[in-house]
Amino acid sequence: MPRINSPAELKELRKDILSKRDPDKPCITLCSGTACHASGSEEVAASIEEEIKKQGLSGKVDFRKTGCHGFCEKGPIVVIHPEKICYLQIEPKDVPEIVSQTIKEKKVVERLLYTDPTTNEKTVHEFEIPFYKNQERLVFGSNGKIDPKSIDDYLALGGYSALAKALSQMTPEQVLEEVKKSNLRGRGGGGFPAGRKWEECRNAPGEIKYVIVNADEGDPGAYMDRSLLEGNPHSVLEGLIIGAYAIGSHEGYIYVRQEYPLAVENVGIAIKQAEEHGFLGENIFGSGFDFTVRVHRGAGAFVSGESSALMTAIEGRVGEPRPKYIHTAIKGVRDKPSCLNNVETWATVPLIINKGADWFAQLGTEGSKGTKIFSLVGKVNNTGLVEVPMGITLRDIIYKLGGGIPGDKKFKAVQTGGPSGGCIPEEQLDMKVDFDELAKAGSMMGSGGMIVMDEDTCMVDVAKYFLDFLSDESCGKCVPCREGIRQMLKILTNISKGEGKEGDIELLEELSQVTRDASLCALGRTAANPVLSTLRYFRDEYEAHIKEKRCPAYVCKALISYYIDPEKCQACTICFRQCPAQAIAGGKNQIHVIDQERCTKCGTCFEVCPPRFGAVKKISGEPVPPPIPEEERMIARESKEK
């Protein structure tokens, strides 16, 4: 590949790539992100390749394995271009029909289309599906169009033109000003203005400066950075190079989790391609600007996503946070000025340079500009990754994009911001989502995790889950974080076991305060959020656990019992046969009774009891009614002839 030495040569190359591509030629794209991979996209890919050959279409149809499309609930996803016909949950057996019908005959295969769960209406095109229709996919949108291993695909979409513009038409100061003006705030959690961080780093004394991509995403349920880095690594790289130019840095790091093998692979390929094209290395675009980048693979500690811990890890030491009274932008990796931003933040930069700060700043809210990718998971119909403008309401995200709560259940709360975020209740659903509003509600943006919970969720149990996660993932260095979390977790565990005491809530609040005030890093300072936000909105649940020994959501095992309503039991013997603890007494025509002593509360009986009987009940906070006497258990069946 010839080196690109100027913006003009880049334009030529792009023209050349496009001239070889016929926009009307059919192209099958298949989502090959990690989620679809897990749902079998590799097998689908093999059968697409085979079927193209088999049906004599070699050379007449393109096939592209792309990054994540976001609609992971319905993967693997196939989109047929140029019509953008979208097929969902594709299996290898569907492929022959897709090729023979849609590619050859230009006919739509109805049964593979998106079906609206309420109206049963079919949707042909990707952009008409409600999940996609209500999104604004600026950063994430290219994922579905390009093969992440192909730099040509990225260049065809105008890739590296922002870098060319920055390097040839703008001074570093102008680039910096543009980013500052755009009011881009860091997408990694804190929401610190990126431009200000860049400026601080640029103005910090020292010849050697570093720019760093934080791809150490570790929140349970969050995978937007992963999908971006896997699906469009060049966009992250381009943003990083532009940032380095603005800051005056010549060395960069991409810190990516070892647990993200596809991201590691794709970013490695992207770096090599960018080097070959001259987008990395010496004298980029003939501008005299040099920049190299290295991949640093993280060893799996959640806390290493904290910027100072990440930098300590890059230095080859244990990834533990250090004080940031002097910002890392001034004293970071090896005490040199280091500018760290999250994957999504860097990927947004080329857009700002290409389209301008004014364009970017008109999207979003007063204090939070642009779009944000959220990973929408939990008790919601359409799980996946969504990119929406800041300021959209939580209700729209959960109901319009997410399609609401499955199984006619009631919404209870949405947990945002990862383990250190908070739970937001129903009454706040019309809140406009941005950095400041989420913080006001006692949660945070975090990196964009969004876990939807329905009425079957116990909020004490949720707080306990996150504190348990944090007790493993705190580095353990400072007392308030390590010991505060330890004690809070103990109290929560006791409450959920029915051993809560008067004063526990106040003690949780006191510990939360100290953990928040005195911890060394952001992990500790936010660790109490799951406790504080659930206490703020669901205090009555805590009180029910403590005072009435009752779990209102019927989750905490120690506080619930299963009971078979003798009026409703039809002696069908399903639960009797399936109980793994043999705790159910019963038999043919015998009303079943649970032996409370033997019951392990696994819930199998509750799940298998046919809904038309609905005989198995969960009880909490009240005594289990005594079993009916054995002599009364016989069911007298009416004769069928009658």
């Binding site: 500690a301 260095k477 400072c478 007392v479 308030p480 010991e483 979390i485 005030d517």
Partner: protein, 204 residues
């Protein structure tokens, strides 16, 4: 080095740029309690007992005095209701691990900390890291280190190094705010552990 004037507990204090609040306070005899601090070692900021209240740029904040660099016109309060309350809870948290340490008990008395507030888990060690850092930074032996993360963090002697280096040193013992019990115990245990099956790599 330029001179900086700040206010600590109402007193005007002169300090040099680069000094911490703790150093500035100590230079004029103002006492701030510490547990993980040692003048021969790099500031660490783990025990947080040195937490003080500062006023800077119109905001009040709690910071660790052993780490926070002095600033012109900074206002520092080494005692306040919020500071005392924080120190009290921090002491209660570590007293659960080392209820009999006299150093901790003295502090507990000062701040009204109740050593029985949290369930006892006597590990003796409060993970201040003085032994670990002294061995690494001053002795440069790294015979003792941290293992584990989060609530499972603990200190451990590395038998291969400890069996060579520790017998004639033991300089870490008197540093321990919980009276070296844990250090001694762990050292003994490490030395008594069966020899590793494969010969340790030679350092030379």
């Amino acid at each position: 080095m330029s001179e900086i004037t700040l206010q600590i507990d109402g007193r005007e204090v002169k300090a040099e740029e680069g000094m911490t609040i703790l150093e500035a306070a100590q230079s004029v005899g103002i006492y701030i309690p510490t547990l993980c601090h040692h003048e021969k070692l790099e500031p660490y900021g783990a025990c947080r007992i040195c937490t003080v209240e500062i006023e800077a740029r119109g905001r009040t904040n709690l910071v660790a005095a052993c780490l926070y660099p002095v600033e012109q016109n900074l206002v520092v309060r080494t005692r306040s209701e919020r500071v005392d309350k924080t120190r009290k809870v921090l002491l209660e948290l570590i007293l659960a691990h080392a209820p009999d340490s006299t150093e901790l008990q003295d502090l507990a008395q000062e701040y009204g900390a109740n050593k029985a507030r949290f369930e006892k888990e006597p590990s003796f060690c409060i993970l201040c890291g003085l032994c670990v850092r002294y061995c690494a930074e001053v002795k440069k032996k790294n015979a003792i280190g941290f293992v584990g993360r989060g609530t499972r963090r603990e200190i451990i002697f590395i038998p291969e190094i400890a069996s060579k280096e520790c017998w004639d040193c033991k300089e870490c013992f008197p540093l321990c705010p919980t009276e070296a019990l844990q250090a001694a115990f762990l050292l003994t245990k490490a030395l008594m552990a069966p020899a590793p099956t494969s010969a340790p790599e030679s350092e030379e």
